[in-house]
């Protein structure tokens, strides 16, 4: 097995490192979306990638008559509403469905969203403009050139993490969502409407996904089917960190991003996606509860 060697050129090394961090932060955001729904419902929402795509696409469409900031805010709100509608239509009325059934339903939802997007936006590849400057704007850190959008992506990830941990730690609703995740029966008996909490978790995941879709759009571009590969990467990261653990997801996301970035020094670029899948398979065989998770905690979950 070849160990990815550090490029002799130190500048190149940092260039790869920042590329890895950027992609890692994006994967982490998608993974957090998986985790929020997993935590409150115990299901993996395979339509998470489509939320990311929808956020980007809606923001791009709104850009025609709204300034960038408002377009992103509106796109996030609209995607949250879509998330809520999906939960109410397809999930809410099910009485204790099996994990397999839920997986098939969410895969169905993802196909539905993807095909709807194809009808609305067509096959063309779009993107939001760079939030600051354009694709050739860089600022220099020593001799390393960094695009300002990279800073936006990393900052969005950091702000989201901080906001979420504040939400779950310090607000009554956040605490009730955690209660619902930890023990649904007991939460019900505290008078909490757990179904509303599930709807809320779909809204939250959709909103986070949409915001991710907006900040990454200038770098990765947005197409009707761009959600699929992101969902696979996000899922890999969520599993790698240990399902349900959002802080570990950030670490795992950055790890995967950096591995991918440095892999180009040893394998052709075309194999980059194969690396994520290989890691996913390896983790599922060796440590299905994630590198930061414990097998004991995993046994308490349904999945």
């Amino acid at each position: 097995m070849t160990i990815p060697c550090i490029p002799y050129d130190l500048d190149l090394f940092f260039q790869y490192l920042f590329a890895g961090l950027t992609y890692g932060a994006m994967y982490a955001i998608v993974a957090i979306g998986f985790n929020i729904i997993y935590n409150t419902t115990g299901i993996i929402n395979f339509a998470q990638g489509e939320f990311v795509m929808l956020g980007g696409m809606i923001a791009i469409s709104l850009m025609t008559f709204l300034p960038l900031g408002y377009a992103i805010a509106a796109a996030v709100l609209i995607t949250m509403a879509i998330g809520a509608v999906i939960e109410i239509l397809f999930i809410r009325w099910l009485e204790s469905p099996s994990v397999l059934r839920m997986i098939i339903i969410t895969i169905g939802i993802s196909i539905l969203l993807r095909e709807s997007a194809l009808h609305i936006w067509g096959e063309s590849i779009r993107s939001l403009p760079y939030f600051y400057g354009n694709e050739v704007t860089t600022f220099n850190l020593g001799s390393v050139h960094i695009s300002p959008q990279v800073v936006w992506v990393i900052a969005a990830c950091a702000v989201m993490m901080a906001g979420l941990s504040l939400f779950f730690k310090a607000t009554p609703i956040g605490r009730e969502m955690r209660a619902c995740a930890a023990n649904r029966t007991a939460a019900l008996l505290c008078g909490i409407n757990t179904r509303n909490m599930v709807t809320l978790s779909f809204m939250l995941s959709a909103g986070i996904g949409a915001l991710a879709g907006c900040v990454m759009s200038p770098i990765t571009y947005t197409q009707y089917d761009s959600g699929t590969s992101l969902a696979i990467k996000g899922f890999t990261v969520a599993i790698l960190g240990g399902l349900g653990n959002s802080l570990a997801a950030v670490a795992a996301g950055i790890l995967l991003g950096i591995i991918e970035a440095f892999s180009v020094t040893v394998v052709p670029l075309a194999f980059q996606d194969a690396i994520a899948i290989a890691i996913l398979l390896l983790i599922l065989f060796v440590r299905p509860y994630g590198i930061f998770g414990s097998s004991e905690a995993a046994r308490l979950k349904d999945f």
Binding site: P172, A182, N183, A186, L189, C190, L300
Partner: protein, 267 residues
């Protein structure tokens, strides 16, 4: 039912009343035509051998399971068929035989979740942390601390609840139930797994809770606890009501003695 006790139960409408409640699981008749009433301000116990249907009965009252037939009235309002969280909102809280605390939360946070039904602020105020929410949050924190203090575990408020000792976890669960400021408290085997000193402490707590104006309905195996604190006892056997009387009379009841001392049909 029986008239031999000194409490005038007919004076006020009972807080909780069951009329002909049935529960069938397929062919199994788990709860068979149960009727009884719980008077406001009393302590009532449900006893019976294992498998008599006590926990099923609790699940029916709390709305965790739908009844197959019969009515359950709480404060004059029929509650069978209502959702659990709606019943809780009416003023009924419960604890579990197998403790169900929230993994990853401190004792204080667990109790604060119990305050949920007391929360006046709506969904969006809660989400965006408007000043009103902060005020309510402070009040809720203060009340949760008060309850932990009442249960003598205030010093453990910041400890993760699921890492506490068994008896302490039970106390946290009781604090969480009380945090909802219920009118009726359902306790499912509050003394299970406790030693005699802890059991005596639980007995003292339950009577204190009653004296604070909370009506208590409990399921319990520990006979000394039940006999000491209950105003009335309902005995279940194979899903049916065998007797309902004061502790003194229950101890004399031939049918009850038979199922507990075990003839060949006993559980």
């Amino acid at each position: 039912m029986s008239s031999g006790n000194d409490r005038a139960l007919d004076d006020c409408e009972p807080l909780l009343a069951l009329h002909g409640v049935h529960k069938r699981f397929g062919g199994l008749h788990a709860v068979n035509d149960i009727s009884f009433a719980v008077a406001t301000g009393s302590i009532k116990a449900v006893i019976g051998p294992n498998g008599a249907g006590k926990t099923t009965l609790f699940n029916l009252i709390a709305g965790n399971l739908p009844v197959s037939a019969g009515t359950i009235t709480f404060q004059g309002q029929e509650i069978q068929g209502k959702k659990t969280h709606a019943i809780v909102r009416l003023g009924m809280a419960r604890t579990f035989q197998n403790i169900k605390l929230f993994h990853g939360m401190t004792a204080l946070e667990c109790v604060m979740v119990g305050r949920h039904v007391q929360s006046r602020c709506g969904f969006f105020a809660g989400l965006f942390n408007l000043p009103f929410t902060w005020k309510e949050e402070r009040a809720s924190r203060a009340r949760a601390m008060e309850l932990l203090d009442f249960l003598q575990i205030a010093d453990l408020a910041q400890v993760e609840a699921t890492s506490l000792a068994f008896g302490q976890q039970r106390a946290v669960e009781m604090a969480r139930a009380l945090a909802a400021e219920p009118k009726l408290l359902l306790l499912d085997e509050p003394a299970a797994g406790l030693n005699i000193y802890e059991t005596a402490e639980v007995a003292r707590l339950i009577t204190t809770i009653r004296d604070m104006g909370v009506t208590v309905l409990l399921v319990e195996h520990d006979m000394s606890l039940v006999m000491d604190i209950s105003d009335e006892i309902v005995v279940l056997s194979f899903g049916a009501k065998l007797a309902e009387d004061t502790p003194a009379n229950i101890q004399q009841n031939a049918g009850v003695i038979k199922i507990y001392l075990g003839e060949d049909d006993a559980g």
